[in-house]
């Protein structure tokens, strides 16, 4: 009995320290969507693709529609007119790393080409290696980006932390840092997603803008790439992102900038704003499916600190002693 108690106390005293969340196991998936109804206007959603940054799979998929050569210095724009899907899947986990499949599925995509073409489905995908100790994606041992779809809720990336550090061909080094981390944003609101309603506290992360100016023989473009999203404080999962947020994974995949508006969410948000409701939708990628389990709602929530167990234990011992003394006294 004493041994068991000692073990329990020892166990509670040594909570493991790692940047990896408890749910990061092979088979874990987290899926987001941007819902676009048929009556949405043209051009709301676009992604800018730098052709010479695409991997072979993604290039093959795109070059069926677009007349470009592999490694060409060109930025093309794709206009997904339908609902889009972004999924993250943990393929494997070992002692130090995890393999994450990132998959972006676009529907009814308008593509510039000799004549404007239309792809019914276009898929971009990449398998990324996540270093579990630092929580960053690594390429040849070098950290290149942080995941967009979760943060460590006990140690989210602080202002100044790197979200992206990659070399863009003909574009120099792109460094994206966290600009602001807020625990008060949306603190008075319920946030709705397709999966469930989330309650505060939240973690809101906002990056700096990476300004860019790119050009080649057939194009020139300028703009900025940034990322901002809202996270669940219990699991650390991304709940939803903002409209013009570009997940760092996109840049690794060759998508240098995106604006993806969940038109369905925008319409619901407009209603909430008009009614003065204490509910919100974010207007970018919204969570719609995952096998990560969320803890029970607040009233039933387990104590968040192991210290609470110590207090409960102390109270129990005090009662036991009191009960023993009481029995002695009546005898």
């Amino acid at each position: 009995m004493v041994l068991a108690l000692c073990l329990l106390i020892f166990y509670l005293g040594t909570t493991p320290v790692s940047a990896a969340p408890f749910w990061l196991k092979p088979g874990t998936y987290v899926n987001y969507t941007v819902v676009v109804p048929e009556d949405a206007r043209f051009g709301i959603n676009d992604i800018m693709v730098k052709v010479d940054m695409l991997n072979e799979r993604s290039f093959e998929a795109l070059s069926r529609y677009l007349n470009v050569s592999r490694g060409e210095n060109y930025v093309t724009v794709l206009w997904p007119m339908g609902t889009s899907y972004l999924s993250f899947k943990v393929l494997s986990v070992d002692n130090t790393t995890a393999r994450i499949l990132v998959r972006l599925e676009l529907h009814d995509v308008v593509i510039e080409s000799p004549d404007i073409a239309n792809a019914s489905v276009l898929v971009f995908s990449e398998v990324l290696t996540l270093d579990l100790e630092t929580g960053a994606y690594i390429v040849n041992g070098t950290p290149v980006a942080r995941p967009s779809f979760f943060v460590d809720p006990s140690a989210p990336p602080e202002p100044g932390a790197l979200l992206l550090n990659v070399t863009v061909p003909e574009g120099g080094n792109w460094v994206m840092r966290v600009e602001n981390l807020s625990y008060s944003r949306y603190k008075d609101f319920e946030v709705l997603t397709y999966l469930r309603t989330f309650h505060p506290p939240f973690i809101y992360l906002e990056s700096e803008v990476v300004p860019f100016s790119l050009s080649g023989p057939n194009y020139s473009c300028s703009g900025g790439t940034s990322f901002s999203a809202l996270y669940d404080s219990s699991t650390g999962l991304m709940i939803a992102s903002d409209l013009s947020a570009t997940p760092p994974e996109f840049v690794l995949m060759g998508i240098i900038r995106s604006s993806m508006e969940d038109v369905n969410a925008s319409r619901a948000l407009r209603r909430f704003l008009a009614e003065g409701a204490d509910k919100r939708w974010l207007q970018g990628w919204n969570l719609y499916a995952t096998n990560v389990e969320f803890p029970e709602e607040r009233s039933l929530e387990r104590p968040t600190s192991p210290l609470t167990y110590y207090f409960a234990f102390t109270v129990l011992v005090a009662f036991a002693v009191g009960f023993r003394d009481f029995r002695r006294w009546i005898r």
Partner: protein
């Protein structure tokens, strides 16, 4: 002759966004094309939050466009968007 497209969402006299893109046309052999060296992007706004560095000005092989991501002070996000294609068919 030139081609022009504009998008001007407006909510109040002093709350608006203006995105536009224009370019001169070449008419040659019955084909109408946009002279990409003359493409001009315009981005103005008033009473909304816009990060100037986020404004997209794109001139590609087939289309040119301007996109202004904005946020109204009530928290609603949106984009003003204007586009011209470079080729016209008869």
């Amino acid at each position: 002759m030139y081609d022009y497209d504009g998008d001007t969402p407006q909510w109040a006299p002093d709350e608006w966004v203006w995105a536009s893109v224009s370019g001169w046309l070449n008419i040659c052999d019955g084909k109408i094309t946009v002279d990409t060296s003359t493409v001009r992007h315009v981005a103005y706004w008033s009473g909304v939050k816009v990060d100037r560095s986020q404004v997209v000005k794109y001139t590609g092989a087939r289309v040119s466009y301007t996109k202004i991501p904005y946020e109204r002070y009530n928290g609603y996000q949106g984009e003003a968007f204007a586009l011209i294609p470079h080729f016209y068919k008869h």
